[in-house]
Symmetry: C2
Subunit: 453 residues, 2 copies
């Protein structure tokens, strides 16, 4: 609700170069709100606003609410010196996520400007395999020795509080950082001030290994309703924690990946709208070609049954034509539906037209390539050029029609407050079947002058 009201003000501040206004924008609003509004600007403009504030902690908080792809764009417009200060202050796990996405040369040029302690931490976290607990954990956890009292514990936690991801879960470790026990802040508050931690702590700590799969770890955090879960090495030494908010992000990403895979789209690294058309074409094309192969097999089986009948090429390729449309339409629908469900499209104005335009362009590339392959397949299986022309032109038209309507229909029904997920893959395929048959027979009529059935 704030966003639409504040964005025009911010643009005016930029036009008038109102430094005080921009500084206040960064420092007075809730960081998540500042971040959402800044995402609407060009990265260079967003940085012009941010650079007016000297409150580094605030900047880091706002920066943390940007999407990873916006962070990367932003990093590319910030000078090395302020950038290295910013990176030093980021939470270790967010920092590593960001650095993994940057050009390695860029990272190497930044590292010398970053303080020694952070540098070591970066190199260590960068070394864990992707999708492991190690790659999503943070090293900023609260820990205490076992032989101090509860009141001493409060003293020490006061010192740790400012820079730990959470101080509500406290891990009890020995000098070699072996995980001995666990305490919640709640338990600490309920304990008597002179009790020893070793008498209050729970000894049976649920922990995960640093090389465990991130999805399993995230699911554990969620299932048990934890705020964080400790991550240990082979020797039960505490190396980090995975917090509930990072676990939720992982589960959301994994759910989106599944949703894309289920519609035969290779998972995207970015949100749908931030992914370039050419990348989308690759992620979808690989499956469209594979599925086209299966359709050619169906055509071949039909040819076998129709062996006696020369005119039946039209029938032979009917499933192929319909399937190409159904597949392309499902891909578009799944991409748009999962983006809608994650609110990725709500803030951007004009995004409906942007999506339709992109799908049109994208489906022309995809339709063109799939159409070329079907031309070859149809020519080979029928031995004649006219049928091949009919099949391949139809495939092109059907893919474009299906992709555009697969993207448009979910947006349309959402505008009537109907869950866009009702535009299911089978429903899109059914609509494409009706329209596809009409296109197919009319293209054949155009080429032959009659329906060649």
């Amino acid at each position: 609700m704030y966003q639409s009201l504040l964005l025009p003000d911010l643009r005016q501040m930029l036009n008038e170069n109102d430094e005080l206004g921009m500084k206040e924008f960064c420092e007075v609003l809730f960081p998540a709100v500042s971040a959402e509004i800044l995402t609407e600007l060009q990265p260079a403009e967003a940085w012009r606003v941010l650079s007016k504030s000297s409150n580094l902690t605030r900047l880091v908080e706002i920066f943390g609410y940007f999407s990873l792809s916006f962070q990367v764009q932003l990093v590319n417009v910030i000078d090395r010196e302020p950038l290295s200060r910013l990176i030093e202050e980021l939470a270790p796990d967010d920092r590593v996520d960001l650095l993994e996405r940057l050009d390695p040369e860029h990272v190497e040029s930044l590292l010398p400007l970053i303080a020694q302690a952070e540098r070591t931490d970066i190199r260590k976290l960068l070394s864990y395999p992707e999708d492991s607990a190690g790659s999503i954990m943070t090293s900023e956890y609260a820990s205490l020795p076992k032989d101090i009292t509860v009141s001493e514990a409060f003293e020490r936690l006061r010192l740790q509080a400012p820079d730990r991801e959470t101080i509500y879960y406290i891990y009890i470790i020995d000098e070699q950082r072996h995980l001995l026990g666990f305490l919640t802040m709640r338990k600490l508050i309920l304990a008597k001030p002179d009790q020893k931690l070793s008498d209050v702590m729970a000894r049976d700590v649920l922990s995960v290994r640093v090389d465990e799969d991130q999805e399993k770890v995230a699911r554990d955090v969620n299932r048990y309703g934890f705020i964080a879960i400790p991550v240990v090495d082979n020797d039960n030494r505490l190396v980090g924690i995975v917090t509930h908010d990072d676990a939720s992000d992982i589960l959301e990403e994994e759910a989106e990946e599944d949703q894309h895979r289920l519609a035969a789209v290779e998972p995207l690294e970015d949100s749908y709208l931030s992914t370039p058309v050419i990348t989308l074409a690759k992620k979808r094309g690989v499956w469209l070609f594979f599925l086209l192969g299966a359709s050619v097999l169906t055509a071949w089986v039909l040819k076998y049954f129709d062996a006696g009948n020369e005119n039946n090429w039209l029938i032979m390729f009917l499933p192929l034509v319909l399937a190409s449309g159904g597949n392309a339409g499902s891909q578009s629908a799944a991409l748009v539906i999962s983006a809608l469900a994650r609110d990725q499209l709500r803030l951007k104005r004009g995004s409906a037209f942007n999506i339709i335009y992109r799908e049109f362009f994208l489906s022309a590339i995809l339709g063109g390539s799939v159409s070329l392959v079907s031309l070859g397949a149809a020519w080979f299986l029928t031995g004649a050029v006219e049928p091949a022309i009919v099949v391949s032109s139809t495939v092109f038209l059907v893919v474009v029609m299906a992709s555009v309507s697969g993207a448009a229909l979910p947006i349309l029904v959402q505008s009537f407050h109907v869950d866009p997920a009702y535009m299911s893959t089978p429903l899109i395929a059914a609509l494409v079947d009706v329209a596809g048959v009409i296109i197919y027979f009319n293209v054949a009529y155009l080429v032959f002058g009659y329906y060649p059935v």
Copy 2:
């Protein structure tokens, strides 16, 4: 890892009626672990184990880790007296979720046994509309007045700590419960003991309205990485909080619903394996019939183009036959894949066979009904009985074949450590196309003695 080791021990304790062993089982293990193992037993057996412990807080913790459907089964085997004690102790939001699932008469018979305060709370929470923030919030939050000092705040929190969902987020309210401000435990620890809360608290509190949509609320909690978000009424009075773990559960449920809808399955209330076959048949059947309608339209369009050709009924129903199989197969695949992703199938032994068996039975019901409708449609469109017999028998066979393979393939590829989500809707449809054509032509051959092309 624990589970497979401990389950046989527990069964032995039950056989030998080892009361002490069962008591220890409840009180020594981590509650989430006890709950997972108990789920493997029959509800009556599980309650026999639980009833051996007199530690009600422990029982409530374990109970909270059961799935809602297991909780309902369990409730039906517990006597009214111990059941009302248990329900009194449950967290208000969990309690309401459970009571909403019980037979209203059962609830009314329990209410008189429940303490007055809890009874009022139950009636209040039950009154919020389903899917609203009010229906998922808990009324057990930590709150303080604004004019006390930090050290007084700690004193009061010590009293609130035992029965609040979280004491890490503290809400500052006036006598009419208007939400004035917000404090984290971290901020409280960092503040000076004699500071007034009104000087330390944040005044700009992000809150949600009690009638807001639960999915939006859950998404806010997640996006901002909060431990909880306050819920207020129209008058900005604090009425509850939604905690991060409940928010994650909601998002997971909503993602699963979307996954089911995208494969044309009406969302299930329970997990796939706990849903009775007849319910699954309804949730899938409604869409299969609707999609069959679209396929009849395609057949009708094909009839229009084929008007001159008597033998083309085989072609006319080709898309219908293939689509019926594709739709049924996608439904099974999506159900199994989302259950696998949520780990719902891992613990149960023999679940692969159980699933295939259920899908077989279920698809016979679905295939039979869809086949009857296609018999009518084909008879009407062709005006002859033999084509109608071929079409409807093929639809039956294809639906059964597609459902069983749609369920089996994801399980099969998962056993080779491949993400089952690769068994996408379009891929299942493509496989069904090849097999469907072969079945269709062979059924036609059986009826006519030749391929009637």
